[in-house]
């Protein structure tokens, strides 16, 4: 039935998409809908996605109004989401949200609120919107505090974010750690047709905090390895890569860098599995150090059995532990050295990859993540 949903999942995020956040929504929402016998998914649309879909007992509605100003758009989404939730007010038991603009209308329904804090707008927005004033960030922090302190449970993917949400008023006994995960791809995945013979791989978005510029500078220091290519599997379109492409040209490595944009998630696994190394060069910015993250690129590289070289940051140590090679962040020379050493020792590389894959298989697949989320749902239902 279209009426009377018991659960809703709200995200100010396009779904599905090739971003890590979409993979996350897919698994978390699936757990919610399995548990509550269906539900309502309110997400962003556009890009040819249908505004309305019904998949069995799950209804998917997408906000596709064009509102140029981001803050206006977020608030328009909020008001739209309130309208979508309204027919279900009598039956809604639980709303699962990812951001304040989903949380506000959800709080208004009176249903139990589970707030999944993967990031905080007050920390992340200034990177994309550099003119945002400190007073505006103060209001955003207050808005986060308003929503987090009212949530029955706050789900965080890392200890660093846990600290950040506690600072913003979440009750300590209501914060639950549910790390991201990855599912090991099937063995014997065929090599992608256009894959170079030997390549390093970067998978993910291209925001400044991802450190792709650091990786390009490190790659320029490996110019003597003429058979080595760098594959950048970007989750965003070619437009976004223009500054980085120009950097690659300036560094003289443009002809050895292969750009893949917005590959379907299922194809990325094969690129990962056949890479020599996967690199996660996250930078030491407040976004990574104070807010935190749980990079799906690292989880998926581990699951594919590909050795990972990543920045030595608390958020990465949490995920990778002893199962990869850590290097100081923002240091292209150090990164290049670590890559060179691992390329020299294929046995070490293989062993790191195998260990990482076992680590994921034994505790950090999406099945495990969903199991941890199910415990959170049980806890809030029992309150």
């Amino acid at each position: 039935m279209a009426d009377g949903h018991r659960a809703a999942y709200l995200a100010f995020d396009r779904f599905p998409s090739s971003k890590g956040s979409a993979v996350h929504i897919r698994h978390m929402a699936a757990e919610l809908f399995d548990r509550y016998g269906g539900g309502l998914l309110c997400v962003l649309g556009g890009g040819g996605l249908p505004a309305y879909q019904r998949e069995g007992a799950v209804e998917i509605v997408r906000f596709d109004a064009v509102v140029p100003n981001l803050l206006d758009r977020a608030e328009a989404f909020s008001a739209w989401a309130a309208e979508q939730l309204a027919p279900h007010r009598d039956t809604l038991e639980l709303c699962h949200v990812r951001d304040p603009w989903g949380a506000l209308p959800a709080l208004d329904t009176g249903a139990t609120l589970v707030y999944e804090a993967n990031g905080l707008p007050s920390v992340e927005l200034p990177y994309a919107w550099p003119l945002v004033a400190p007073s505006t960030l103060g209001k955003l922090r207050e808005l986060e505090r308003h929503c987090l302190s009212r949530a029955a449970a706050v789900v965080v993917p890392s200890y660093v974010i846990q600290r950040a949400v506690l600072d913003r008023g979440a009750a300590p006994d209501r914060v639950h750690l549910v790390p991201n995960g990855a599912d090991p791809p099937p063995a014997g995945l065929p090599r992608p047709d256009t894959a170079p013979d030997r390549y390093l791989i970067y998978v993910g978005a291209l925001q400044p905090w991802q450190g792709v510029d650091v990786l390009l500078r490190a790659f320029a220091r490996l110019a003597d390895l003429t058979d080595l290519a760098l594959v950048v599997c970007s989750s965003v379109s070619a437009n976004r890569a223009r500054p980085l492409r120009r950097l690659a040209e300036r560094l003289g490595v443009a002809d050895r860098v292969r750009w893949q944009h917005m590959l379907p998630h299922a194809e990325v696994a094969a690129w990962l599995a056949h890479a020599e190394l996967s690199v996660a060069p996250l930078t030491a910015t407040p976004r990574n150090l104070e807010q935190g993250c749980s990079p799906i690129k690292v989880w998926e590289s581990m699951a594919a059995g590909t050795a990972v070289v990543a920045s030595d940051l608390p958020v990465i140590r949490e995920v990778l532990g002893e199962h990869g090679r850590l290097v100081p962040p923002d240091r292209p020379a150090e990164l290049a050295r670590a890559i060179r050493v691992l390329l020299e020792y294929p046995d070490v590389r293989r062993e790191l990859g195998e260990r990482a894959r076992r680590h994921v298989e034994t505790g950090f697949t999406w099945r495990h993540a969903r199991g941890r989320l199910a415990v959170v749902y049980e806890t809030v239902a029992g309150r």
Partner: protein, 112 residues
């Protein structure tokens, strides 16, 4: 055979593909028996006309919406007046680090 062209799937989207038995009167797309709504429209057109769900539920929804709107409960939450023109100006399309706001990505507040 004309296949049904309603988009289906949760994470991996595709077209339904089952044999079509009718066309949507509004958008003309071919529809299989399973995707014709009670009003004869495709699911998207029916949703756009607020014709999804049980008629009684829709009436209850409209009544509740009226009471809710006139009570101003939601608008009074306080947060909608929280941001002023100065706050908003930093989020205008030209103010972003990326100019192509209609492209993918900028919609998201946070990234995993």
């Amino acid at each position: 055979m004309t296949p049904c062209t309603v988009t289906t799937g949760f994470f991996t989207l595709g077209k339904c593909g089952v044999m079509a038995v009718a066309g949507c009167p509004a958008c003309q797309r071919p529809l299989c028996a399973g995707h014709i709504t009670e009003s004869g429209l495709c699911p998207e057109c029916a949703a756009a006309r607020n014709q999804v769900g049980h008629p009684a539920a829709a009436a209850a929804y409209r009544r509740r919406m009226h009471r809710h709107r006139t009570a101003g409960e939601y608008q009074d939450a306080g947060w909608y007046a929280g941001f002023d023109a100065y706050d908003r100006s930093a989020f205008d399309p030209g103010a972003g680090a990326q100019q192509d706001y209609l492209d993918d990505g900028d919609d998201a507040l946070v990234d995993s």
